[in-house]
């Protein structure tokens, strides 16, 4: 690989020409003006994909019938089950357990550990390997108000302000209050936090924070959290059984508004398993691999909204599922890195966003939804984006400013993973700017829960990215890792307590699927797809043409 093309190198000269003046301004503390509140509203409506009418439509069935959602999501909410209820026998259970956890990421694993601690027998089923999740890719850090000048009170304000005041207050209070307990728990499990020599936690600001409360472990905070809690769950094999490559494909209900377990599918042996459970936790994560509006995504391979599809069919209500977070700075060159997350930290360290003329066009630290709108506008309406050899477009993220502002070596020290990911392709981001464009990042909403993680289906709990209401319509950096652990644990303990209250798991039925199929017919849905999709389909056209089955 040979780095930037000659054309790019010419364009980079324009960036270098404007840089000295821009650096001087930055040193004086002057920024490109931020948008006013009314300008924010205007540009969001004009450019943010959530506000477009194309690619979105009202879902025709189910508890949130009539809500306008992205096409890719609406289609799945109107899907038929993979199972034919009339041909499935639920008479014999292949597994019986107190708590079934669906999903093996941060939230699912936290739930399993908490449920086990409360005395429950736990079965954790996951679609890929235990740990394959969006949790493992989170890098920015995890928020917690543990400094003397901070408190959960201020954390609450930051969360609800960042969410444009649309968050559910009880969930925000739970998140802020439990945060210190979670960080302490992780420390006790042996997580290697970045600390000062005496043991004090190293903390930073993030987008929208009033206090420095972003805790981290190198630049792989999520990966460290995931491997530590997964390792701990492996030490408790007596009570926590993990089934990998066995996604749930349908919930089982008890016929009277409660959950009874789930049907799992072994992707490799193609067997279905009936699992009877007294309580179920759904922790299936986000929907990035549905590629809303065709956007590339930062999400892992399995992020296909499975939990939403199954729970919706069982009558669970949704909250803010129509709100999607596009991370403003996803890599768009080289082609191999398209969609790769370029952390907000880069802008936090002073890098500015520039158009093809090397000029600034927006304040670099707007809330993520506003920032994405600014970039989309500059590329698609103003027409001053930088085209790539493969027909994409992006704007410059001037990372060389970081070393100039903070001293040589800052980029390599603060962004080691990013540095390697570009160096591989002969681009030195401490000396050359990156090319970025918004990328599909986070499912802001999801299944509706209360602060005990209960959904509208008795015995069914939900935690993590699959749930809605915690972050309102815009999540702040560092609160997702916190969300999965706070609510993962709450869901696990809640599920265990609920399980204790039942003598045995309820007799399972798929009646809710029959009812849903009838509703689909009644709504005139022609040619419904089957769901959940489980894995994205990346087969190219030339291959599909030859796959005659």
């Amino acid at each position: 690989m040979s780095g930037y093309t000659r054309e790019f190198k010419e364009l980079i000269k324009r960036v270098e020409a404007t840089r000295p003046a821009r650096v001087e301004k930055a040193r004086r503390g002057e920024h490109f003006p931020a948008l006013t509140m009314s300008q924010r509203k205007e540009w969001l409506s004009a450019y943010h994909p959530d506000y477009k009418s194309e690619g979105r439509r009202a879902v025709a069935v189910g508890p949130s019938k009539g809500q306008v959602l992205p096409e890719e999501v609406a289609v799945l909410l109107e899907s038929r089950s993979l199972l034919d209820p009339d041909r499935v026998s639920l008479d014999e259970a292949d597994y019986e357990t107190d708590v079934l956890v669906i999903g093996g990421g941060g939230a699912g694993t936290a739930a399993a550990l908490a449920a086990e601690e409360a005395g429950a027998k736990v079965l954790l089923s996951t679609k890929l390997r235990h740990g394959d999740s969006n949790t493992v890719m989170a890098e920015g850090g995890i928020q917690c108000a543990d400094q003397e000048g901070d408190s959960p009170y201020f954390h609450y304000l930051d969360v609800i302000g960042g969410g444009h005041f649309t968050n559910k207050p009880d969930l925000v209070a739970a998140l802020a209050n439990d945060a210190p307990l979670i960080i302490h728990w992780l420390e006790g499990l042996g997580m290697m936090f970045d600390k000062l020599p005496g043991g004090r936690m190293k903390v930073r600001h993030g987008g929208g924070t009033s206090r420095k409360r972003m805790h981290s472990a190198g630049d792989m905070t999520g990966a460290e959290i995931m491997r530590v809690i997964r390792d701990e769950s492996r030490n408790r094999t007596e009570k926590i059984k993990v089934l990998e490559f066995s996604p749930a494909v349908e919930l089982l209900t008890d016929g009277s508004g409660g959950v009874a377990g789930a049907v799992l599918y072994n992707i490799e042996t193609k067997e279905y398993y009936v699992v009877r459970a007294k309580a179920v936790v759904i922790a299936t994560g986000g929907f990035g691999r549905l590629h809303i509006q065709g956007f590339p995504t930062t999400n892992h391979y399995g992020a296909t909204a499975d939990g939403i599809v199954m729970a919706y069919r069982a009558g669970v209500e949704l909250q803010d599922l129509d709100s999607t977070q596009y991370h403003p700075t996803g890599a768009v060159y080289p082609e191999q890195n398209v969609g790769l997350l370029i952390t907000e930290k880069v802008r936090g360290l002073g890098a500015q966003l520039l158009n093809i003329d090397g000029e600034e066009f927006c304040f670099p630290l707007e809330p993520r939804d506003v920032e994405s709108s600014c970039i989309l506008r500059e590329c698609l309406e103003v027409g001053k984006g930088i085209p790539t050899p493969t027909g994409r477009v992006g704007v410059w993220l001037d990372s060389p400013m970081i070393d100039i502002l903070h001293g040589e070596g800052t980029v390599r020290k603060e962004l080691p993973a990013k540095y390697i990911q570009f160096k591989r392709y002969d681009i030195d981001i401490s000396k050359e700017p990156m090319l970025v464009f918004p990328t599909l990042h986070y499912q802001n909403g999801g299944l509706s829960i209360n602060e005990r993680c209960e959904t509208t289906l008795k015995g069914l709990y939900a935690a993590g990215e699959v749930s809605g209401g915690v972050h309102g319509r815009n999540r702040l950096m560092g609160n997702s890792l916190l969300d999965v652990l706070v609510f993962g644990r709450r869901a696990g303990s809640g599920a265990a307590e609920y399980a204790k209250s039942l003598k045995q798991s309820p007799a399972p039925t798929l009646e809710h699927v029959r009812a849903f199929h009838r509703e689909l017919e009644g709504a005139g849905i022609e040619d419904p797809v089957t769901g959940p999709v489980l894995l994205p389909d990346y087969a190219p056209e030339h291959v599909k043409k030859r796959q005659w089955d």
Partner: protein
């Protein structure tokens, strides 16, 4: 609006890689069978281009989860190479295989009940094979994250568990090192154990955190948070807009706000 709809769609290609104009087709061998793929694709995208749909061998697609451990050689070259499929670009004549799984030794343990003064003994008890390292360096040469694996094993042998923990930190637990070790050491699981020992017993505890935990458990923040949840949106907005911001340059733990009522 219509203009951007058309503009966005062709640019938004989901996960599909667009090879540059003039990209040649090159032969690669997926588990020995030849496929023609455009150059510049990563192994993962090339395998999907050839028509395979991943079940095993694919995870985060971003170089951090270790699911796509890959071995490869080039036709005509004896050297065995290793990498992550999502991060390695194909070359002509590449012969590829991925590790869907590798059995590693991983004994269970109870982190809470380990004698803090006998950590090295505990390592010796759980992973005696670590002490049989022959120093061949294959693990280091194989690691896709540029970790000096042999060195952290050496640190483990010497009892420098903190050093071993720090040196192994970037590990994505792909298992490539373990698959090649002639002394049958499971380096990455031993390292996971040592890192947790380090985090719990060798790094000093955060006292301010312990103090805050006591405060939370005593219910100190319950009322003030409840009051916030019951406030009107107008009132919360006002508090939000007026809240103080800790200066970027402040040393952790030194700054205090004017409003100390809610600490």
């Amino acid at each position: 609006m219509g203009k951007d709809k058309d503009a966005i769609k062709p640019l938004a290609t989901g996960d599909r890689t667009i090879p540059p104009e003039g990209a040649r087709m090159i032969p690669i061998y997926i588990m020995g069978r030849e496929y023609q793929v455009p150059e510049t694709l990563t192994v993962m995208k090339a395998v999907e281009y050839a028509g395979y749909r991943y079940v095993r061998g694919c995870g985060c697609r971003g170089g951090i989860c270790g699911a796509c451990a890959t071995f490869y050689r080039f036709v005509g070259d004896y050297k065995l190479r290793a990498g992550l499929a999502c991060q390695t670009v194909v070359g002509p004549g590449m012969i590829i295989v991925q590790l869907p799984f590798f059995p590693a030794n991983r004994p269970d343990y109870d982190l809470e009940n380990i004698d803090e003064g006998a950590l090295h003994e505990e390592l010796r008890r759980l992973y005696p094979e670590v002490f049989k390292c022959v120093g061949c360096g294959t693990c280091t040469r194989t690691c896709p994250m540029d970790i000096d694996v042999m060195d952290y094993i050496a640190l483990m042998k010497r009892g420098d568990l903190k050093g071993a923990a720090q040196k192994s930190f970037d590990c994505v637990m792909c298992g490539l090192c373990t698959s090649r070790c002639p002394a049958q050491i499971s380096q990455f699981t031993a390292a996971m154990f040592v890192r947790r020992l380090c985090g719990k017993y060798l790094m000093p505890k955060a006292e301010h955190l312990a103090k805050r935990v006591e405060e939370v458990k005593s219910g100190r923040y319950e009322k003030m948070l409840k009051d916030l949840t019951e406030m009107s949106e107008e009132d919360v907005k006002k508090l939000y807009v007026e809240r103080e911001r800790e200066p970027d340059m402040a040393e952790p733990g030194t700054w205090l706000p004017e409003d100390k009522e809610h600490l």
